[in-house]
Amino acid sequence: MLRYLLRRTAILLVSLVLAAVVLFLLLRLLPGDPVNALLPVGATPEQIEAARRELGTDVSLPVQFLNWLRDAFTLDLGRSLINTLPVGPEIVARLPVTVPVTLSAFVLAILIAVPVGALAAIRADRWYGPIINAVAQLGIAVPAFWLGLLLITVFALRLQVLPAGGFPPDGWSSPGQAIEALVLPVITVALVMSASLIRYVRAATLEVIGADFLRTARALGESPAGAMWRHGLRNASVPVIAVLAVELATTFLGAVVVESVFALPGLGSLLVRGISQHDYPVVQGVMLVSTATVLLVGFLGDIAQRLVDPRLLQRGAS
């Protein structure tokens, strides 16, 4: 396990650096010059030079990259070109929206998908097995913004039990309003996420149901439910954990659409604003934090998989 941990940590660090390089280069490929953001209309060449110096874009690309990486390691993500505020605290200020939405939706999606998916597999012979499957398949095709709008129409505009969007100005100091504001976004994300999860859970369960070890357990006198509970779940969860890690990461990054529909001040809206204004430090900062989160979640997912199924360790080692 220790060997695996070390190797996996090395991979994590290398991917982080690679991701940072790609991020940095991609942003430089965009047309337009970021100094425009700092300059008045009809700026003189001297002013342009001064602005470049201020931005640090007067030196060569590799030097710019190393400077940025050095600062990033000390948690200094630079300052926004548009409002000159430090990017780090700006990102931190968005987390009280993005993190609760992502995590609650994730938990809710698991609570929906695991029982429903398992049921669809175990009861594949009943009338509702295929129906669950079909509904889940349909659910994958539903875009998050459409589902969000639908929920707003029903719960906010018609029934008027929940707000249509926004987040209280004083944030979590008004916990009631904050929770209220996040209910529909969480449900939206959770339903979209659970649609694909249900199919993975179902497939994993189906595979386990037909497995030899389950038949052996039954032969040793366990009830169908007992065998499933004790041996089936653990085996079925291995591929699902891998998918869960990917899903969690996707949700974290994919919050952009949902945040826009529900007018939430999260990381996604910060990213969109940064991109539309060519605010490089903001885009780089958000992307770096998101990428690091995604890689870290993948890392934890892999570790969790190996804790659940130590056989993977031997396979990986050989």
Binding site: T84, P163, A164, M228, S260, F262, P265
Partner: protein
């Protein structure tokens, strides 16, 4: 297994319901106190920062102009210029020396008293080298500013400038010792800044030490949306009381037919332009520009985007400018005339050009419409979509374009046609002369007559094609009164708003 499933489902449901219930109670509490209510304003224009000389965007003007910051003069919602922090003004006979006396007893939100030094510093902030104020060039006429005493400011001009007082209405008077004006403020207005949650809300609270008539409400919260539907939903669910500028034409019907809302059709200064690069072929030929102007059915375009709202316009001057004249009949829609003009320009078989189109509404829609209209007279349009940033560097700075679409939001901006170095490259010495003379006119009548003349010439020469004037639509709850309806310069005075 079955029992576990039921338990899990019940738990999840209970959690969701608990959350709904908790929130429902809060809602009633916030709207109960209506005596001095806080007004909830919905907008799509979030400020980038709080400084109008640092590229904060129109959201800064909307939230802070007249509310948090005041100038020596103010532009009223009706478009008149009135004294605000200036008690009186004297102009020398040669029109070069302005002497302003300040209102007594004015205090900044920090508690410091207003002095002439603050006014001097505030004007210099706008003209400073690193200032990004859109009004910077208008104030270049200022030669010196002196402060003989704490209540008097004397401004010497390089030449006569009849718009000087009008231009001062855009200059915020800021505490000269204030720091960090991109995230904090120190103005003299009826509100001080409460809390700014970037990406979400900006709140203003009533300033108790205000020198003038206090605000009629307890405060204002601006709620910012990136999605027009989300903004309309907020109004429909009473999360906001008023929307400062409706940008989603399709959504208007639901408010028009509902007695709980009032749709106000105000005066706008925002024009949609098809701007040619008048310096490059074939747009350096007047006939080609006239042909294009005649080939596009502006009314149909306006109707397809805004329905019955908005106004066709024949030139750069909107009806709220004093030198407005209806010029829609100049180079009016007539494809037959367009073909004749093309033939006269030596292009009977048409030509093709690239249209640099900003990637946000309504530009892409307008570009497609123009493409189909011009195809009918043999002109091929290649639509090239660009971001606002690219527009700024490619079109505005480098002039590397044939034609472009752009919205021009300012009032009184016909004067740009007098500048041959502006991005569209229109150059007519007569027009330049008239516009210069108008600025140095002794009376507003003289100014108006000269600008009318210049405006007529640019319309006849189709310096650009002015497609239409945007509508300025404020949608508000019918319980609300006292809000401004004209979006002049994007300002939104909130102090008279009352909620019944």
């Amino acid at each position: 297994m079955k029992r576990i499933l039921t338990a899990v489902a019940a738990l999840g449901l209970a959690g969701v319901l608990a959350a709904c219930g908790g929130g429902g109670g809060d809602k009633g509490a916030t709207s109960a106190n209506s005596g001095a209510a806080t007004i909830q304003v919905g907008s799509v224009y979030e400020p980038q920062n709080l400084d109008n000389t640092a590229g904060g965007g129109q959201g800064v003007t909307e939230a802070l102009n007249g509310n948090v910051y005041e100038g020596l003069f103010k532009l009223t919602d009706a478009g008149a210029v009135e004294p605000l922090l200036a008690q009186s003004q004297k102009v020398s006979d040669d029109g070069l020396t302005y002497t302003f006396t300040l209102k007594p007893g004015v205090k900044f939100h920090s508690g410091k008293a207003l002095t002439s030094a603050d006014v001097k510093a505030s004007i210099e902030r706008v003209t400073a080298e690193n200032s990004k104020s859109a009004r910077k060039s208008n104030l270049e006429v200022v030669k010196t500013i002196t402060t003989p005493d704490d209540a008097t400011v004397v401004v010497q001009l390089k030449q006569r400038s009849i718009s000087f007082v009008y231009n001062l209405s855009y200059v915020w008077v800021v505490n000269s010792q204030a720091k960090d004006l991109t995230t904090t403020e120190d103005g003299t207005g009826p509100y001080k800044l409460g809390d700014w949650k970037r990406g979400s809300t900006l709140s203003l609270t009533k300033f108790d030490g205000y020198w003038g008539t206090p605000a009629k409400n307890a405060g204002v919260v601006f709620h910012y949306y990136t999605d027009a539907t989300a903004l309309n939903n907020a109004l429909l669910t009473n999360a906001v009381d008023v929307v400062t500028s409706e940008q989603s034409p399709d959504a208007l019907a639901q408010f028009d037919s509902n007695k709980s809302y009032k749709v106000n059709n105000g005066k706008s200064t925002t024009k949609l332009l098809l701007a040619f690069n008048d310096k490059v072929a074939p747009f350096n030929k007047v006939e080609v520009r006239q042909a294009i102007s005649s080939a596009i059915d502006d009314k149909k375009l306006l109707n397809s985007i805004w329905g019955d709202y908005g106004t066709p316009i024949g030139s750069m001057v909107p009806p709220s400018d004093p030198w407005y004249e209806d010029l829609t009949s100049v180079n009016a829609y007539d494809p037959a005339v367009a073909k004749q003009k093309l033939a006269a320009a030596g292009l009977p078989n048409g030509f093709s050009f690239t249209l640099d189109t900003p990637n946000y509404d309504p530009h892409p829609t307008a570009a497609t419409f123009i493409k189909s209209e011009l195809a009918k007279v043999g002109i091929t349009v290649n639509i090239h979509t660009i971001t606002p940033d690219e527009w700024y560097s490619k079109v505005y700075q480098k002039r590397d374009f044939q034609a472009t679409l752009q919205e021009h939001v300012n009032d009184r901006d016909v004067v740009w046609y007098g500048n041959p170095d502006f991005y569209w490259g229109y150059s007519n010495p007569q027009v330049t002369k008239e516009i210069d003379q108008a600025e140095q006119a002794k009376t507003t009548d003289e100014q108006t007559a000269l600008l009318k003349k210049a405006n007529k010439t640019i319309a006849e020469e189709a310096a650009s094609d002015w497609l239409y004037l945007y509508p300025q639509i404020v949608v508000a709850s019918s319980k609300l009164s006292g809000y401004p309806v004209n979006g002049l310069n994007a300002q939104f005075y909130a102090y008279d708003i009352v909620k019944n």
